[in-house]
Structures are given as C-alpha cells and as structure tokens.
C-alpha cells in the first residue's frame, strides 16, 4: 500500500488487505481528535427520508443518513399463511437484507442475521396489532449501502414505511446509536468508527410517548456513561422523529394537490 509509512492516514479502505489499519485517532489519550467526516462527537449525520419509493408496495420509504442508504417496503395486511393459527391480533413479519455491494468487502452484510428479529422487536410495540386481526403485514428492508448505524436507520425507515402504508401505530419509531470510544461518546457512528468501538448502545423509541421499544448495549459501560449515552440517543430520536413527521406531512400535502 502506497500510504505505508505516510503521515496522513487514509480514511478510505479500499478492499481487504492483510494489514490492520490503526484508528485515525487516539481513544485513550486526552488529545482532541476529529471524526473523519468532520462532525462533532454529538452531531448526527444529516438524515433524509422520502415515502412512496416503491410503487408496487402498500407503503414504502427510502432513508439516507450519510453513506447509509436503506429502502423499506411494506406489504399487506394480507391473509396469514394457512399453517398459522387463528389470532385475533395481526402479525408482523420483518426481514432485513443487505445487497451484495452494500459493504466494502463483497457479501459481508450477511453477518447481521439478527437484524430481522431486532427490527421486529423494535416495531412490534408501536403497532396497533389489534387493528388487523387474522392478517399479516410484511416489512422488507434492503440495505443498499452500509455506512454505519445501519440498524437504527432501518428501523426509522421501516416505521415511516408502515405509516405510509396506513398501518395504525401509536407513534413513529425512531432509532439512534452511540459508540463509546475510549472516554468519548460519539453519536451516529460510521462503519469505521463502529469497527473500533469499545461499546455500543442502540435505542429505538416512540418519542411522543417517551417510551423505549428496543435497547441493546454491548461493551463495557459505567453508569455515568450509560446515562449520558441514553440521553444523547433519546434527544437524537426526538429530533429525528421531527424530520420523519415533516416528511410524512409533505407527502400528504403533495398527494392532496
């Protein structure tokens, strides 16, 4: 690699190499370091949402947050499969997949097998399942490009797609994650930051109800850090929900005209 020994570390890892790249910052020292995309530690990437991305679906949404690009379609409610027992509440079926070109190394997205169940858990509490008995709603998410914090983006986008499909919900679900790097907490980490993180925390919540629908934590956390991280995420979620809401309003006023 030509940058070997060079002073400026490259921020773009092109393809698998046998060398580990050191992080371009000093997690254990007090030296101020900058995030490679120039954001502040507590600053999210700009988020973009649009509903109605897929014509053939009952509802759909496209979300973009930095390099992370996600598309979600919602189909149904339609009759549950025969093998399913009668149920007086509706069923939710979620699936998250990655395109083969989503990650820098081809086909690495399949590592995230648990995302489908995580999406299901995050959304289930927000949906009024009683409003579509005996039937199933399918939520299919496709990560077009993975740029870090994929799951929170998928979850936010999916709740928007559900709203677009007219599924009754108590509230939108917004997701955010925080990485712990040394002493610092950084919100909305990109893939590179995620790969060096000491710990991570993801919250999805219903901002109007102020209720957490899903919470996962890994790594080592002290109480102070944990509380700060949770607060950061909750603030980010309520801001994100505003953007999502305005996206829905725009779509609604556009369809009126």
């Amino acid at each position: 690699m030509a940058s070997k020994g060079g002073a400026a570390p490259s921020t773009y890892t092109h393809a698998p190499t046998n060398k580990t790249r050191r992080p371009p910052f000093f997690p254990d020292s007090d030296v101020d370091w900058l995030r490679s995309d120039g954001r502040g530690f507590h600053q999210c990437r700009p988020a973009f949402f649009r509903t109605g991305a897929v014509n053939s679906a009952a509802g759909s949404a496209y979300a973009e947050s930095g390099k992370t690009k996600v598309i979600v379609s919602v189909f149904g409610p339609k009759e549950s499969k025969k093998a399913m027992m009668y149920s007086d509440t509706g069923r939710l079926n979620c699936n998250v997949s990655y395109t083969t070109f989503a990650t820098t190394v081809r086909g690495h997205g399949s590592e995230n097998k648990e995302f489908s169940t995580m999406l299901h858990k995050a959304l289930e509490g927000a949906i009024v399942l009683e409003s579509f008995p005996k039937t199933t709603v399918d939520v299919f998410a496709l990560v077009l490009e993975s740029g870090g914090s994929d799951l929170p983006v998928v979850i936010s986008c999916a709740s928007l797609a559900l709203a677009d499909a007219g599924i009754t919900m108590y509230d939108l679900v917004a997701g955010a994650s925080v990485s712990c790097l040394g002493r610092n907490l950084i919100i909305d980490p990109i893939s590179e930051e995620e790969s060096f993180q000491d710990g991570s925390l993801m919250i999805t919540c219903m901002p109007c109800h102020y209720e957490v629908t899903q919470l996962t934590i890994t790594g080592k956390w002290s109480t102070a850090n944990l509380n700060e991280a949770m607060q950061l995420c909750l603030d980010a979620c309520s801001k994100l929900a505003k953007i999502m809401r305005s996206c829905l309003k725009e779509a609604a006023s556009a369809s009126k005209d």
């Binding site: 690699m1 030509a2 940058s3 060079g6 490259s10 921020t11 773009y12 890892t13 092109h14 393809a15 190499t17 991305a53 897929v54 014509n55 053939s56 679906a57 390099k67 690009k69 598309i71 395109t99 083969t100 070109f101 989503a102 990650t103 820098t104 081809r106 496709l142 077009l144 490009e145 993975s146």
Partner: protein, 286 residues
C-alpha cells in the same frame, strides 16, 4: 372523499375502477380499440425512462434505471483473481431477488452481444485478471423487468471505473487507494491507462405484448398479467439482432408482427442510446 358536490363524479369513477377489476380484459380491449392505453400512452410508446449513474458509492460502477415505475439497481464490484480460463475470467452473479429466467437471459445477452472485450479485464497475462461481479436488485417491479435490468447493467458497465492496482515486489497485486492517486507513487501502477472498458455494440431491448392484432410496447405489470404473450427483442446499437425471446403464450405471432416488434425496438434502441449518452455526458460535466 365524501364531499357532497363530488359524489356524482366519484360514483362514476368507482364504477370504472370496479369494471377494471372485474373485467380487466374487456377494460383493456375497449382502450385498445381507441388506440390508447389506460395510462394514456399510444400502443407503441415506452414509458418515461431515466438513468442515474454512480448511485452506489461502495461499488466500482453502478446505475439506477427507471422505466415508468419499474426500478432496477445494478452495481459492479471488481476483484482481482487468477484467471481460470487461460487469459481472463469473468463471472456474472445474479441474486435470487431477480427471477432466474431473467438472470439467464441477461447473462446470455451480455456475453453473446460481445459488448465486453474480456481481454480488457486481463491484468497480467495468465496470472491475474479482474473478476467483475454484477448484481442487480429490483427495487420496484412494474412490468418489463428484463428491459430495465439490461439497461441498468449496460449503464453500470459504462459507469465502471476500474481501480488502479500495482504489482508489488512479491508479484502480488495490490490496490492503490483513490486518495494516494496523484501523490508520488512508490510503484508504477499496472493499469493506469485501462480504467474504463471500451463497450462496443451495446445491447438494448424492448418487450412487447402481443394481443390479437395489437402490439403494446413496454407493458406494465397489469398489462403483463392480463395479456400473456410477450416478445422481447434485443438489438445492439448498430441494429443487429442479438437475441429474441418469445416464451410461448396464447398468441401465435405472424412474421409481420415479429417485424413490427423489431421495428419498434429499433426506434427504442435509438431512444435508449440517447438517454445513455446524455447521462454519461452529464457525468463528465460534473
């Protein structure tokens, strides 16, 4: 809905909608006899077509093709490998998302059209070559899937930027990352000149539905489900026939109908070529 003054209009609208659902074939035939389609297109016209290049930053070449609301995302990733067939190797990979039939048709079309000169994918003769992985995802399906898939594939190949590589001391190929480009290089890149593929005779296609004596170009999903006989013609940019598919169907086509399909395709190829050229030149200005 439910405004008192609009209720008269609404009820007639509902009737049309109900008629469309209950008697789809008659609904369509009534339109066809007036030489128009329910979406206000003349029979031989394709839907609005747009192309966007470089939609996927993590791929080496990518394109998003939209024909009406049918949307296809194609992306190419390049990897270095030892060629398994003497000089060069290339494999096309199709995800399960696209129907296997379309995948087969596409790989046949692309390889038989001679669009890609496999020699250009060779790096060090007999030792290293590029493997191009092409993946196409259908984001929205509304008819004419093959046409959109082929268009996105062709556009992705025209957008493809082959990464620069160098040969290190051990005789292994190493990638040179973009940012070091222009900086002083320790080693001379192997393929400084060959960063774009020269695409010769690019194939384009048009799918037509045959119904009685009508020929409907570029059908929507609804049209495809009601009238089952489809004909797909693939021509290259110099109007030579690359492939022709008519997978059965209740309508047996006269040779004149086939000629009409080919004629429609010839027009369409010019349109598509223009769209591709404009998109490519738009990229260069940026």
């Amino acid at each position: 809905m439910g405004l008192p003054d609009a209720s008269g209009d609404l009820s007639s609208e509902m009737e049309v909608d109900a008629f469309r659902r209950l008697f789809p074939l008659r609904y369509f035939e009534r339109h066809l006899s007036e030489s128009i389609r329910p979406d206000a297109r003349p029979l031989g016209r394709a839907r609005d077509t747009t192309l966007a290049l470089g939609a996927v930053a993590s791929a080496h070449g990518s394109a998003l093709a939209k024909i009406g609301s049918t949307t296809m995302l194609a992306a190419i990733k390049m990897e270095v490998m030892t060629p398994f067939n003497r000089v060069t190797g290339r494999r096309l990979h199709w995800p399960a998302e696209a129907a296997p039939v379309i995948s087969k048709q596409l790989s046949d079309t692309i390889s038989s059209s001679g669009m890609i000169n496999l020699k250009e994918l060779s790096l060090v003769s007999g030792k290293a070559a590029w493997m191009a992985y092409l993946d196409i995802y259908c984001l929205d399906a509304d008819g004419a899937l093959f046409d959109a898939a082929l268009l996105s594939a062709v556009a992705a190949f025209s957008h493809l930027q082959i990464p620069i590589v160098s040969l290190n001391d051990d005789g292994k190929i190493e990638l040179i990352s973009e940012e070091d480009d222009g900086a002083k290089l320790e080693v001379e890149p192997v393929n400084k000149e060959k960063r774009k593929l020269t695409l010769s005779s690019i194939p384009f296609s048009l799918t037509c539905i045959l119904h009685k004596n009508y020929i409907l170009a570029d059908p929507t999903a609804e049209e495809e489900s009601i009238m089952e006989t489809a004909v797909t013609v693939v021509l290259d940019s110099s109007s030579r026939l690359v492939s022709f598919y008519k997978p059965g169907g209740p309508v047996l086509a006269h040779t004149s109908a086939v000629q009409d399909c080919v004629a429609l395709t010839r027009q369409r190829v010019k349109e598509l070529q223009n769209i591709l050229d404009e998109t490519l030149s738009g990229m260069e200005i940026d």
